[in-house]
Amino acid sequence: MTDALNAILVIVLVMNLFVLGTSRILAVINTVATQGALLGVIPLLVHTHLTISVVLTSVAAIVLKGVVIPSIMIRALRDAEIKREVEPLIGLLPSIMLGALATAFALLFAGELPLAGEHQSALLVPTSIASVLVGFIILTSRFKALSQVIGYLVLENGIFIFGMLLIDAMPLLVEMGVLLDLFVGIFVICIIVNHINRAFSSLDTRLLASLKE
């Protein structure tokens, strides 16, 4: 169990770096979709005995994170006809390095944290922290609205991973609420993205700078 879990988590980490280092936004969306779908598998692995609610959570996560949200984003991408380049504030290589530093930090830091015995060997906590940090890096270093949404998704994925530690403790309602809110949030954001496009004929948030001191 732990083996498969760790393998998935490591792949998630690798995908984080890939998202940081890729310039084509379509590839990035696809990667995040795959990442989301992989995360959806985790609840099945964390649990020793399967219950209906766990399976539901897993299916909902796979469908939402892996299918629905990416297709909405790809649609926004197509409607907006933006040129498919991610424009980072800092270059791709520095952002990979930053991401790598964040990951290394997470790996070391998580070793210091007091963890319950059963979670000691699994990489859930470091992966979660690393994903949150990488999400932040993407959020702050990208100008395109869609890229920022991607950063937010990576951030949410990290939180979702941490939630796996608690899946026993958290009732189904909260679990679903997390996914639902994520979904609605992205949905609203995508609508706004379309409006931004209509008004600015670009998805560049650097142009959103008329309100400042």
Binding site: L113, P114, L115, A116, V132, L139, A145, Q148, Y152, L155, E156, G158, I159, F162, G163, L165, L166, D168, A169, M170, P171, L173, V174, G177, V178, D181, V184, G185, V188, I189, I192, H195, I196, A199, F200, T205, L208, A209, S210, L211, E213
Partner: protein
């Protein structure tokens, strides 16, 4: 949950539904407050004293705003108000849910929902600037709320780690609070402070606030500044409570005091020389969130003032945003370069704006004076002289900064009439602000015994260690 049910089927037509819902909501709130024993409570939904205070505030504010909205939407007949009305109605629903929820996860969901329903409200004017404001609001707000979720998880893990039954029901968490694993609790509190602090608009996570408040219609600004921030504060209060019970007051006090002072200082700096009076109000909101957090950080003796300040600040912000909305509409501009002589053109709104300014900066005899004075007293009682000194100094800075802008707006002669809109104070747009102002004045002169009892209950509730 009755409130949510009330809000959703009435999503359909005209803004007249707003006052109806608001009256229903207020009466139910009053009913709920007077007869607490009749409420159907379970572990997840329960109205405790701090929740009651916020619920009362939001309900009153929403009642007044709903009347204002009717007048406002009459002016803006050219635009479909369907989404606006629906969002306002769901807003009161989710805000009530925040105050009722006694489950940390449920509360988080409700607060996230407030972000989502208020975003379209900010976007109501549908121009480039409002898109920008909405985008910043959504993005920053969502990130903040995501961090708050992570913090909630940390708290839950803190109990799991110690081998306790893992739970997120507030009462249960309070019960086991002293046994929670300290590192996780601390990390969780920091994340929650940042997360809900973003929602409250504490510096340095306040960057969405001037934009969103500046671009949103006045009534939305009033609801955001009075309602959403109070809800976020309530959420923070819950976790403060947990840490307090867990015996970590020292740790939280340091963080809260620092953030409070920092917010006030930053708001003061930006307020001096601010040329946009709506943005100035936003910074004033940042400042007052700072005051609230500061009061929380002082704890103990300042709690009464803090809880009172939640109410007085919310109501005064209502006055300011509603009257600022009127002035904005009349002059067609928010810049102090073009807006002058509001007292002459809009005697009522202008007066209210001026009075609101005096109230919010803590001049007697208005409500905020009492609450700020109580917080200051608390600071001295808790032997925090440096904090108290800084507090006074920053209030002074804010007073000067704000005063310059406000006096500029209300005094003088109205400029040439090139971009004038034929707008004068109507009954529906001015009266709610007036009522609000009178409430603030009343709170300054006399606090009704039921309210006093409510606040004292809340303070006792927060102080008690089960």
């Amino acid at each position: 949950m009755a409130f949510v049910a009330l809000a959703i089927p009435s999503n359909r037509y005209r803004p007249l539904l707003l006052p109806i819902t608001a009256i229903a909501h207020t009466s139910m709130t009053v009913f709920a407050l007077t007869r607490p024993d009749l409420l159907t409570t379970n572990e997840w939904l329960m109205l405790d004293p701090p929740g009651r205070i916020v619920l009362l505030l939001v309900s009153t504010l929403f009642l007044l705003c709903s009347f204002y909205t009717v007048g406002y939407l009459k002016i803006k007949v050219d635009r479909s108000n369907r989404a606006f009305t629906a969002c306002l109605l769901s807003f009161i629903g989710v805000v009530s849910l925040v105050t009722w929820s006694h489950h940390l996860g449920l509360m988080w969901v409700a607060i996230e929902a407030t972000t989502l329903v208020t975003a379209p409200l900010i976007y109501f004017n549908q121009n480039q600037r409002s898109i920008e404001a909405t985008w910043k609001y959504l993005l920053i707000g969502s990130v903040g709320i995501a961090l708050a979720l992570l913090g909630t998880f940390f708290i839950a893990y803190a109990s799991l780690h110690e081998g306790l039954e893992s739970t997120l029901t507030f009462d249960d968490v309070l019960r086991i609070a002293p046994k929670l694993s300290k590192p996780w609790l601390h990390a969780g509190f920091i994340l929650l402070l940042v997360g809900y602090g973003t929602k409250m608009g504490l510096a340095p996570m306040h960057t969405w606030k001037p934009d969103a408040y500046g671009e949103a219609p006045g009534v939305v600004g009033a609801l955001l500044a009075g309602g959403v921030t109070s809800c976020a504060f309530l959420a923070l209060l819950r976790f403060y409570h947990i840490c307090h019970v867990a015996g970590d007051s020292d740790f939280t006090a340091k963080l809260l005091l620092f953030l409070g002072i920092f917010s006030m200082a930053l708001a003061g700096v930006f307020m001096v020389g601010q040329r946009d009076f709506k943005r100035m109000l936003a910074y004033s909101s940042v400042e007052h969130m700072g005051i609230l957090v500061l009061g929380l950080g002082i704890g103990g003796p300042a709690l009464f003032g803090t809880m009172l300040h939640v109410i007085t600040n919310g109501l005064t912000k209502g006055v300011l945003f509603l009257s600022a909305g009127n002035i904005h509409r009349s002059f067609g501009s928010k810049s102090t370069d073009q807006v002058r002589g509001a007292l002459r053109r809009l005697p009522l709104s202008g007066t209210l704006f001026l009075a609101g300014f005096l109230a919010i900066t803590g001049s007697p005899p208005f409500g905020p004076f009492i609450s700020e004075f109580a917080i200051l007293n608390g600071a001295f009682a808790a032997d925090r002289f440096v904090v108290a000194g800084l507090f006074l100094f920053l209030l002074l800075v804010v007073f000067i900064g704000m005063g310059a802008t406000v006096l500029h707006v209300v005094q003088g002669r109205a400029g040439p009439a090139e971009n004038q809109v034929p707008y004068r104070d109507g009954f529906l747009t001015a009266a709610p602000a007036l009522v609000c102002m009178l409430l603030v004045l009343m709170l300054g002169l006399y606090i009704p015994p039921p309210l006093r009892r409510l606040i004292e209950d809340a303070v006792l509730y927060l102080e008690a260690k089960p």
